[in-house]
């Protein structure tokens, strides 16, 4: 069911090419079909994808729904402070170039990971923030999973809350997502499991006492109750890999970025929920 959502656009592409050889009326009908295939516009019974928030208990859902309860808002608040502060080394603040985040950053988090021609590979939002710090703010990069980096990431991502995940369609990003797709279906670790086996074939079932979600990347960074802290999608992926007893790639390894890109493509159209709360 998951694969249909992702490869639907490809099937639609082939149909449209065939239609272009026929009359405009048929092309029009194809256009209507394309419209209906768009996951973001589908009605509930056509949308097989469920956000992780639909698999958690009611009290955990309440934590995410209410900004006065959501512990992730502590990171958003810290990120807002960082956005408006000049880095220690004296460069401009984020606001110095980007102004008001609510307008300048709207939609940005929904378009990551993305291919960056300057570095020649796809990068995550966290990597983009660090590249800006180094190249534009003359500041030191922030460590992965640091309070500061998660703070800025959360603050930038919340400006896209409610917007559909919408990975760019350039060749470089698509190649990254394709690479990630291969990793998603590959068995790894001593337990010899692939992501797909739990999150495509067994979502809704239980692993020990915990319900298996579909594994969409539409709420990150996330306050995970298990961590008692905010964390990135990469931290969650590394947890899973450790859980199946696989060797865990270092933070920002390209395979993790590619996997993130695939997950974003897989979640295309689902609304961003950052800051999410998960068990």
């Amino acid at each position: 069911m998951m694969r249909r959502a992702v490869s639907g656009s490809r099937a639609v592409g082939e149909s449209v090419r065939a239609a272009s050889r026929n009359t405009a009326a048929i092309a029009g009908l194809m256009g209507v079909w394309v419209f209906l295939m768009e996951p973001a516009l589908a009605a509930d019974d056509r949308e097989p994808r469920k956000s992780g928030v639909e698999f958690v208990g009611e009290s955990t859902r309440a934590l995410q729904r209410d900004d006065t309860l959501n512990p992730g808002m502590l990171w958003v608040s810290g990120g807002e402070t960082m956005w408006n502060s000049e880095p220690d080394q004296g460069g401009r603040s984020c606001a110095g170039c980007h102004g008001n985040a609510a307008s300048s950053m709207r939609g940005v988090a929904a378009r990551y990971p993305a291919f960056d021609p300057a570095v020649g590979h796809a990068i995550t939002l966290g990597q983009r923030i660090n590249l800006c710090r180094q190249n534009r703010q003359k500041a030191a990069p922030l460590a992965p999973e640091s309070e500061d980096l998660l703070g800025i990431e959360s603050y930038v991502a919340i400006q896209s809350r409610g917007l559909p995940v919408s990975l760019p369609q350039d060749d470089g990003t698509r190649a990254s997502a394709e690479g990630g797709r291969g990793l998603y279906f590959k068995r790894i670790g001593q337990l010899n499991l692939s992501c797909a086996q739990c999150h495509d074939r067994n979502w809704g079932g239980r692993l020990a006492g915990a319900v298996i979600p579909q594994g969409h990347a539409n709420a990150y960074p996330v306050y995970r109750l298990e961590w008692q802290s905010m964390g990135s999608l990469q931290r969650r992926l590394r947890n899973c890999m450790s859980g199946v007893r696989a060797q865990v790639p270092a933070y920002d390894a390209q395979e993790l970025v590619d996997l993130e890109a695939y997950l974003a493509e897989r979640a295309r159209g689902m609304p961003l929920e950052t800051p999410g709360v998960r068990p």
Binding site: T68, L69, P71, L74, S77, T81, S229
Partner: protein, 108 residues
Amino acid sequence: MARALIHMPESARRGEVFEVRALISHVMETGYRPGADGRPVARDIIRTFTCRYNGGIVFGMELHPAVSANPYIAFHTTATESGELEFRWEGDKNFSQTERRTITVSDA
């Protein structure tokens, strides 16, 4: 300075009972968790939270290690007069943080 968020109304009618929600970032290390060397990591928690309304204590809480990390505290108090609410968290390792909010209380 730990990040702290306080949610409460900016204004209220005299006599109205309102809710305050306070969130602060703190690891709340229990003192029972084994560290990398196998020995328990030393306890490091917030132990008390007090709310003073124009100087008088109107609410207090004692926290033990069983209170979750990044403690969330919600309580109620009565809008008696305009002025300042002061929220103070204190704990291990000389942890101390104060946040202040003003409230306007009208008779309308």
